[in-house]
């Protein structure tokens, strides 16, 4: 399972960065999404994968009775997902506006900021 996840994470990172390096604006967004998912999976993997009960202590005892899944990575992933949701929706609107104003999908032609003025 770990090996499989590691390979998937590698593919997601590679594909995400490859897409971000393309010239097209749409591919930039795809790259952002892939990279975000890769990072989330990485937290999940590095938080150790355990098969076990949820991390809730039964009412009558004071400590965990058996192996439990670490809740911290899940909390981190949830936070990271919410944040990347916000970032991605912003990216989509930004790219749409930029496309409308600049009238090109090609990042190489976005060079108004380099002009000497």
């Amino acid at each position: 399972m770990e090996i499989l996840l590691a390979i998937i994470i590698g593919i997601l990172y590679a594909a995400g960065i490859y897409m971000m390096l393309r010239r097209s604006l749409v591919k930039l967004i795809i790259g952002i999404i892939l990279l975000g998912n890769g990072a989330n999976l990485l937290i999940f993997l590095l938080g150790r994968i355990t098969e076990g009960a949820p991390p809730i202590i039964p009412e009558e005892s004071k400590v965990f009775l058996e192996a439990y899944a670490d809740p911290v990575p899940q909390a981190l992933i949830l936070t990271a997902i919410v944040i990347s949701f916000g970032l991605q929706s912003f990216a989509i609107i930004l790219v749409k506006r930029a496309h409308k104003v600049v009238k090109t999908d090609d990042l190489d032609e976005m060079n108004a900021t380099d002009e000497d003025s």
Partner: protein, 136 residues
Amino acid sequence: MSTLILRTASNYLLPVLLVFSIFILLRGHYLPGGGFVGGLIAAIAFVLHAFANGLDNTKGLLRFHPGFLMPVGLALAFFSGMAPVLVDQSFMTGLWFPQPFPVIGNVGSALFFDIGVYLVVIGVTLTIIFTISESA
């Protein structure tokens, strides 16, 4: 998208989904659920309604701009975090009523924080989706 079946169904689904979202919100302290998920379900209810009946109808149904829910929810969450500071506890410490309420169960400052999250999520999601579909 605006077929008769979907339109009729969405009218009935809207209240059902909203009640379900509140159910998810309330069970969230010990079981899967909570303000974020509940808020998303409530937002989906309105989005479905907008798909079937058009954006303007949904806006008429809401009566106010969904963006208004953001400060309301944030304020609620803020004050539920501030409440323990007033009784000399650390920021965001959970305060609980001693007796459980019928149906709802134990009520504490965490619940108000979650309701705040619920409102913010509805506000943010609807604002984003309305903005995207308006400028399309």
